[in-house]
Amino acid sequence: MSRLPTPTELSGEFWTAAAEHRLVVPRCERCAAEFFPPERLCPACGSPEWGYVGNAGAGTVTSFTVVHRAPSPDFETPYVVAVVELAGGCTLLTNLVQVDPADVASGMPVEVVFIDKPDGGALPVFAPGPADPSNEMEKE
């Protein structure tokens, strides 16, 4: 797997939290929008006042691709690149793990897991999560 990026003044807290296996996302203090990736001004209202808040890491796959040709030998193919929409509304690019790529589908529920890096830090990725309770009800 890849090395982690050098944090910026916007992303330091994200990577510090990830190292502790916590997922945090920017939340605007003015309009309460949660957004990702971090940027200087809230993309919903333009406010510079925002801070990271914890996110339980439950989400839904909205788009995905199974990559068979990696950009570098750091990645073992095939691997899944996906966009996950978190409860709270923001989306992030990520990898899906602990799942056969053939079984990945748009709409599948996932939850965050963390991959520890040998040099320190951890990368948030997602694995199949518990189904939405309302769906469980339907099955019964």
């Binding site: 890849s2 910026t8 992303s11 990736p37 691709t65 040709r69 950009p71 690149v81 748009s106």
Partner: protein, 384 residues
């Protein structure tokens, strides 16, 4: 004056190849710029506006004013920045400058060679992007996310994607200037049999990175009447950008319709509908982008792009011939100046001198894009 009072009067494309180890970016750019000026029947000293990339060495890399010493005189207008020095965006800005009276003759273009140029390897990726690269997402998977969204929403099939690749690659097969000249012909099954890169894209669904250059010369339609080639007027133009390229995860739901407002503006300015355009020179980094643009331009309804291309509409003998030169898929992708090559092909079609000539073509659209790259620029061109 308005944009339609400005014409493209000179074009030049250098050799295009996967690698041009004997060339430098600067010598490709100089060949392009001087070649386009010569094609226009003009002298370097006639040019007083420059939106051409200066790769260096010498001068100051990235600063278009560096061309003043090559062209032999002070410049009246320059436009800096890689994306401004190419393609549809370069054309519309230069045409705007000419129509505003800021300069009289402008050149747009540049070149890229990896080995000796500043660019190093040309893989199409931007600089490191923090929340993209770490998950192994590069340009092809990012475009694949958008394509997957379209498939999920509308049932677009791998065979429909492959139809685009086979059609455009078979055009390029017949273009002696194409990097993939003589390769093929390809069937849909050939495309589907090529190795998977990132679902839904097979190897032959995506374009090949290479090197080369190209340039364009523009002046007023009035002045163009005295020049050797039939002038090609800028009938309309538009651009649309939704954010910095690749900084946010691209998805069909966010960028799938990128280009609709640009196309509406450009076609409205031209007083034409997409159905009235004779030939299309569209960005094709992969098969899906063509399907998406059929919908964005209004040639078919959203979601119907797959069946639309499968029905043969984009073939040389179809209703809407697309990328007769072989496009990025088979002719050339060379970094930024592939954008210029889209305009070069449109101009050649309207002059009647293209390799795979669409008979009687009078109007064309040249477009640069990338839904995943969050930008869309197009110009509507026509015989003046």
């Amino acid at each position: 004056m308005s944009l339609r009072d400005v014409a493209i009067v000179g074009v030049h494309a250098t050799e295009q190849a996967r690698q041009l180890p004997q060339r430098t970016s600067l010598d490709l750019a100089q060949e392009s710029v001087l070649g386009a000026i010569a094609d226009a029947g003009l002298e370097p000293g006639d040019v007083d506006g420059v939106a051409a990339d200066w790769p260096g060495p010498g001068g100051r890399p990235g600063e278009a004013a560096s061309w003043a010493r090559v062209l032999g005189g002070p410049l009246s207008w320059v436009s800096d920045g890689l994306l401004d020095a190419a393609g549809a965006r370069g054309v519309m800005k230069a045409a705007a400058a000419i129509s505003a009276g800021l300069c009289d003759v402008a050149v747009v273009g540049g070149g890229l060679a990896g080995r000796f140029g500043r660019g190093g390897t040309v893989n199409g990726a931007a600089d490191f992007i923090e929340f993209t690269d770490v998950w192994g997402a590069y340009v092809i998977p990012l475009f694949a996310l958008v394509a997957q969204g379209h498939q999920h929403r509308f049932g677009t099939t791998a065979e429909q994607l492959a139809t685009v690749s086979a059609t455009i690659r078979n055009n390029g097969s017949k273009n002696p200037e194409a990097v993939m000249a003589g390769k093929g012909p390809y069937t849909v099954d050939d495309i589907l049999a090529s190795p998977m890169i990132a679902t839904p894209f097979h190897l032959l669904d995506v374009c090949l990175a290479g090197e080369g250059g190209g340039a364009l010369v523009l002046t007023t339609v009035e002045r163009a009447r005295d020049l050797p080639h039939p002038p090609v007027a800028v009938l309309g133009a538009g651009m649309e950008l939704s954010g910095a390229a690749y900084a946010s995860p691209p998805e069909y739901r966010t960028v799938g319709r990128l280009g609709v407002s640009a196309a509406t503006r450009a076609l409205g300015m031209a007083g034409l509908t997409a159905q009235q355009i004779d030939v299309f020179s569209l960005y094709d980094p992969n098969s899906f982008e063509i399907i998406r643009q059929m919908e964005v331009l209004g040639l078919c309804a959203e979601g119907e792009g797959g069946p639309f291309v499968a029905a043969g509409n984009i073939g040389l003998d179809g209703r809407f011939p697309t990328n007769p030169d072989g496009g990025c898929l088979a002719y050339a992708w060379n970094g930024t100046q592939q954008m210029t090559l889209k305009v070069v092909e449109a101009v050649r079609q309207l002059r009647g001198t293209a390799v795979n000539q669409v008979p009687g073509a009078e109007t064309a659209i040249a477009a640069n894009a990338g839904s995943a790259a969050s930008h869309y620029e197009l110009v509507v061109l026509g015989r003046a």
